[in-house]
């Protein structure tokens, strides 16, 4: 265009909306309007590539991967010939839960900062959910190899850390808090949840039950690699059970 020409885009009230240079999108093209004296027009990225790296694009990709993990997890736990449709249904159920959870953070972020950032919250929620599923699988495998009640303490620490990290990540998306403050807020939230859970466990500590509760996970491993003890050693180890029972029996109910 002639360097002396002046181009403005105005609205009905003659308010200037755009001045040169500016970009106008006519899908799939992006047109930049500039004076010839302006710096050479930058190569405008292909819209498709921008779509992939945009928050929405990332959310779609990560969501699809998470959905595949959910369906795979459900398929692993379905043993009928109609396992595939059942797995897809289960996967959709998981995804619906993730979407509802994401919506809560998006609403909170909208209230706090004016921006929902739904796509970013959704990506983080998918990553967290998949991680928790994998943690559960790893926990069962560990308890299979080392069936000791003492494992429950470190496993609880891992679970608490996972929850704190989840909150930390969402706060980073929903607010402009510095990292130290975010960890502090996440820590307070987790401590509150842990205190409530601890109170609930403590109050139910002596709750009577006629059921037998135990971890039933069995791992697909060759028998030769599984550490095992003899029936005699197993029987000797049952004295600990008797001691606990005798203590229970001597307590007033």
């Amino acid at each position: 265009m002639d360097p002396v020409m002046h181009l403005e885009v105005v609205d009905r009230d003659d308010r200037v909306i755009h001045r040169m240079p500016f970009d106008a999108s006519v899908f799939p093209l992006t047109i930049r309007i500039a004076r010839s004296a302006d710096a050479a027009a930058e190569e405008v990225a292909n819209r498709d590539a921008r779509l992939v790296t945009s928050p929405v694009g990332r959310a779609l990709l990560v969501g699809a991967a998470a959905f595949a993990v959910f369906c795979g997890f459900m398929w692993m736990h379905t043993y009928s010939r109609s396992a595939v449709p059942a797995a897809i249904g289960g996967g959709l159920g998981y995804m619906l839960g993730v979407l509802l959870y994401t919506m809560l953070w998006a609403v909170g972020g909208r209230v706090a900062t004016g921006s929902s950032r739904f796509a970013r919250h959704f990506v983080w929620a998918c990553v967290v959910t998949v991680t928790l599923i994998l943690l559960g699988v790893a926990q069962n495998a560990l308890l299979f190899f080392l069936p000791s009640p003492f494992l429950y303490v470190p496993l609880a620490v891992v679970s608490i850390t996972a929850v704190a990290t989840t909150i930390f990540g969402h706060l980073g998306i929903a607010s402009s808090m510095p990292p130290v403050r975010r960890w502090r807020v996440a820590g307070i939230a987790v401590a509150s949840i842990a205190a409530l859970v601890g109170l609930a466990v403590y109050s139910g500590w002596n709750d009577f039950s006629t059921r037998v509760d135990y971890v039933g996970a069995i791992e697909p491993l060759s028998a030769t690699v599984i550490p095992a003890e003899s029936p005699d050693d197993f029987a000797h180890g049952l004295d600990a059970v008797k001691r606990k029972l005798d203590r229970k029996g001597s307590r007033e109910h």
């Binding site: 069936p147 697909p220 005699d232």
Partner: protein
């Protein structure tokens, strides 16, 4: 030569014969061991119903009964026999309940428990009355098919009589039981089942409906009464401690030889497993596959039938063995083990019970190797609060190492000592093997 046919009724011989016949008819009912077939049900009721009483249990400060049963006098000192389960509330919660006896005339008096036999489900009571008639516990020689008469107070409808048939002692039971083909009903527990001449064959104890009922043999009641009347008889520690001692002695006896190396085994797939641990176990098998499922379950179960009544909320004395062979030809290894884990963790281990009588369970899980056979083994037990030294226990094992088949086997024991539970768990695990 003329022959003269001898005809009775002629002359002095005939008169003497007639006298002998009448005398026989009159005296036959009084002869020991005789059964006068001519006794009718109304006649049995008329002659013997006054020896049967109604037993009712009340909360200490209440006039509404909580339990109703029957009983009968066994001697002139007011000794009454009934079932343990009729008066169990007095035993389990002493001081909170009282028992009364009402005789056929409607006279009500308090009664106290003197002795119990928990295994046979019997109790001896003492009443202040001095009956003039009672039922002797001395029946012998009853034949299968003989008619018997059961007396009691069904559903509090009044003293009733039920005809039935003696079908002998059940075979292969933990303790003696008579099979009576007659309709016993709730409320008749503790009442007598007698012959037509008033001798007690057994004490009403339970029914399965369809005229299948059971009696405690009179000999067990006789032994309990003799023990109660022995000089210096006492119940050290109270009746609950006595019940615990009886059950401990009883379970020592029947568990002693279970799951020995010489015990019977059954083959399921590639595994050899214990079965029919003793003659008093009944065993059943089945196979299970839903049309849509990708696996098959082959089951084999054995259990005893002879539970002991402890309280309304708790029964004991039962042993069960349960094997489930899980097999697939289509599931991948990972999916098979996911399925296998759910079978091992199956939430079917609920023993029932009340926190007044039992604790909750304590468990231990380990991996155990019996030769070449690796297993994931769970042991859980709970203690009886009021019967010291007694426990319920469960052992569950899942074989490991195969990608498409495995056995989940379960042993359940109720009312056992902990040393017996531990020893049987060791023997049980040791009897599971993989046939290579």
């Amino acid at each position: 030569m003329n022959r003269r046919r001898w005809r009775p009724g002629a002359g002095i011989a005939g008169v003497l014969l007639r006298i002998a016949q009448v005398t026989a008819v009159l005296l036959t009912p009084l002869l020991p061991g005789s059964r006068a077939a001519a006794q009718s049900t109304p006649e049995v009721f008329r002659r013997f119903s006054d020896r049967v009483v109604k037993i009712q249990v009340y909360a200490a400060r209440s006039t509404a009964k909580t339990t109703l049963g029957s009983g009968f006098y066994v001697d002139g000192s007011g000794t009454v026999i009934t079932n343990f389960h009729v008066v169990s509330k007095l035993i389990n919660e002493p001081g909170r309940y009282r028992a009364e006896l009402t005789d056929v005339r409607g006279v009500t008096v308090p009664v106290t428990v003197v002795a119990i036999d928990v295994v046979s489900d019997l109790a001896v009571l003492s009443s202040p009355t001095r009956p003039t008639a009672w039922l002797p516990l001395d029946t012998t020689g009853i034949r299968r098919g003989e008619r018997l008469y059961s007396l009691g107070h069904p559903q509090d409808l009044g003293l009733s009589i039920v005809e039935g048939t003696y079908n002998g002692l059940l075979e292969h039971t933990l303790y003696p039981k008579i099979h009576f083909t007659g309709s016993l009903n709730p409320g008749m527990s503790g009442g007598p089942t007698i012959t037509s001449d008033g001798h007690v064959a057994g004490i009403n104890v339970s029914t399965e409906g369809n005229e299948i009922s059971f009696l405690v043999p009179a000999a067990r009641a006789r032994a309990l009464v003799a023990r109660a009347h022995a000089p210096g008889f006492r119940v050290p520690g109270g009746f609950l401690a006595d019940a615990a001692r009886q059950i401990l002695a009883y379970q020592d006896l029947y568990l002693r030889d279970m799951f020995r190396p010489s015990s019977p085994t059954v083959r399921l797939g590639s595994y050899r497993l214990p079965t029919q641990p003793a003659p008093f176990f009944k065993c059943w098998g089945d196979t299970y596959q839903k049309p849509d499922s990708q696996y098959t379950v082959l089951s084999h179960q054995c259990s005893t039938d002879d539970e002991l009544f402890i309280s309304d909320e708790q029964e004991s004395g039962v042993a069960e063995v349960d094997h489930r062979l899980v097999t697939t030809t289509t599931l991948s290894t990972a999916r098979f083990f996911s399925l296998y884990s759910t079978r091992f963790a199956l939430a079917d281990l609920d023993f029932g019970g009340d926190e007044r009588y039992v604790t909750s369970f304590e468990c231990q899980t380990r991996n155990v190797a019996n030769g070449a056979t690796r297993m994931r083994v769970l042991f859980c037990a709970r203690a009886y609060r009021k019967l010291p030294g007694l426990y319920d226990a469960v052992v569950r094992a899942a074989t490991l190492g195969s990608a498409n088949t495995g056995v989940v086997t379960t042993l359940k024991l109720s009312g056992v000592s902990f040393p017996n539970a531990r020893e049987l768990a060791r023997r049980y695990i040791g009897s599971v093997s993989w046939i290579q």
